[in-house]
């Protein structure tokens, strides 16, 4: 649905493999506008008594009563298709020996800066590529490419999350054999992306100190599904009156499964612990995959 007008035109998802600088004007046809009152007749039927004389006795079929409805059991998950595609992604990525991250946060909490720093700092340890999802622009992809990493931008148009199929199409444009780590930067949104498995190994949630300590309480589904929670921009925590203990306690209680890191992508504080975690996870996955192959 169009977020501007509520019409049912879903914009095209575009995948950009190459950096380019031009605006993509998008056009869509608005099928109808309901800004003005209009009149319409509601045809309706109702039974009304009527009499007619039957000249003689005869039988004739009366119109049959409306056919009885029947119930059909479906019991099907609406996300079945996405989940199957996500599983295919996961198998494909594992065949390539890739570790895959699905990075989520609200807009502006620093996902791109965090990934930019991660890609640059890990350059001598792991070869990193990225897939970036945004509603419009390829600004984030251009930022991530500054360090020479291969980056594919998905512009989703009006879609508020990435789906497994979009990731599959984008990943086809990357040389996965040349990569160790694939970071998927999801659309900035802590609600919708949560429902979609992309085939990742690690689901990473970022929150910045400017967003308040109760963010995990406001978006529990997102945090409960995360393997890693990163508290970012800690260099400005004091300036914004961020209560670290309350925030960490909220994360621990909402998401006891998550490993927590406190970082500043700007100054580099706390990033090394994150790299060590990633490196260890990557080594573990590679080892597990080898054992499966043997």
């Amino acid at each position: 649905m169009c977020n501007n007008c509520g019409c049912n035109v879903v914009g095209d998802v575009k995948i950009h493999a190459h950096p380019h600088e031009h605006a993509h004007p998008h056009e869509h046809v608005h099928p109808h506008e309901h800004a003005h009152p209009h009149e319409h007749v509601h045809p309706h039927e109702h039974a009304h008594p009527h009499e007619h004389a039957h000249p003689d006795r005869h039988s004739h079929p009366h119109p049959s009563s409306p056919q009885e409805g029947r119930t059909v059991e479906i019991a099907r998950s609406i996300l079945d298709r996405n989940d199957r595609l996500a599983q295919r992604n996961r198998e494909h990525f594992s065949e390539k020996g890739l570790l895959v991250l699905n990075v989520m946060s609200s807009p502006g909490s620093g996902k791109t800066a965090f990934l930019q720093r991660t890609i640059a700092d890990l350059a001598d340890r792991l070869s990193v590529g990225a897939i970036v999802g945004d509603l419009e622009t390829d600004n984030d992809a251009r930022r991530l490419r500054q360090n020479g990493a291969p980056v594919i931008q998905i512009t989703t148009g009006t879609v508020c999350h990435l789906e497994a199929k979009m990731v599959f199409d984008a990943a086809r444009q990357l040389d996965l054999d040349a990569l160790d780590l694939l970071a998927i930067e999801n659309v900035g949104n802590l609600v919708c992306p949560t429902a979609y498995d992309l085939g990742e190994d690690l689901r990473v949630i970022l929150l910045s100190v400017t967003e308040g300590e109760d963010k995990p309480l406001k978006y529990p589904s997102a945090f409960k599904a995360a393997h890693v929670a990163i508290v970012n921009k800690i260099d400005i925590a004091e300036a914004v009156g961020f209560d670290r203990e309350i925030a960490l306690n909220n994360i621990r209680k909402i998401a006891p499964q998550a490993t927590i890191f406190e970082t500043s992508a700007r100054t580099g504080t706390g990033m090394e612990a994150w790299y060590e975690y990633l490196d260890k996870f990557y080594q573990q996955k590679t080892q597990d995959l080898k054992q499966v192959t043997v």
């Binding site: 977020n3 029947r70 998950s77 609406i78 508020c160 919708c192 209680k253 006891p256």
Partner: protein, 115 residues
């Protein structure tokens, strides 16, 4: 607003099933939504009303059943419905990491008829 894409999928599955059952009219769709599914029932209803127009479900009613969160406590070996966003076992106080239900987004059944 991922409710719109979820409803597109739902209608697609529903219409496909109706046709398979030889029906050209859907009267009712029943769905189950987990408390932790991240789906807002009102937004889903809104998407349904917008998307059903012009389909064989145009006159259908959407019925949504909420599925409560059920957690499992490994220490007590029991299931429980958490009283709070923190999934704390009411008996031992341990935080559960094991959610058994509450994330469902399902189409459960259809009521079909003929036009």
């Amino acid at each position: 607003m991922h409710e719109v894409s979820l409803m597109e999928q739902t209608l697609h599955i529903a219409i496909e099933n109706a046709r398979q059952h030889g029906s050209n009219k859907i009267d009712r769709l029943k769905m189950r939504l987990g408390e932790m599914s991240g789906v807002v029932p009102e937004a889903l209803q809104f998407a349904f009303d917008a998307l059903k127009e012009g389909t064989i479900a145009a006159e259908a009613i959407l019925e949504i059943e909420t599925v409560p969160v059920i957690c499992y406590c490994h220490r007590c070996q029991t299931s429980f419905h958490p009283a709070h966003l923190f999934y704390e076992c009411p008996d031992c106080g341990e935080l559960s990491r094991d959610t058994q239900s509450g994330r469902e987004i399902e189409l459960t059944s259809l009521e079909l008829s003929e036009q």
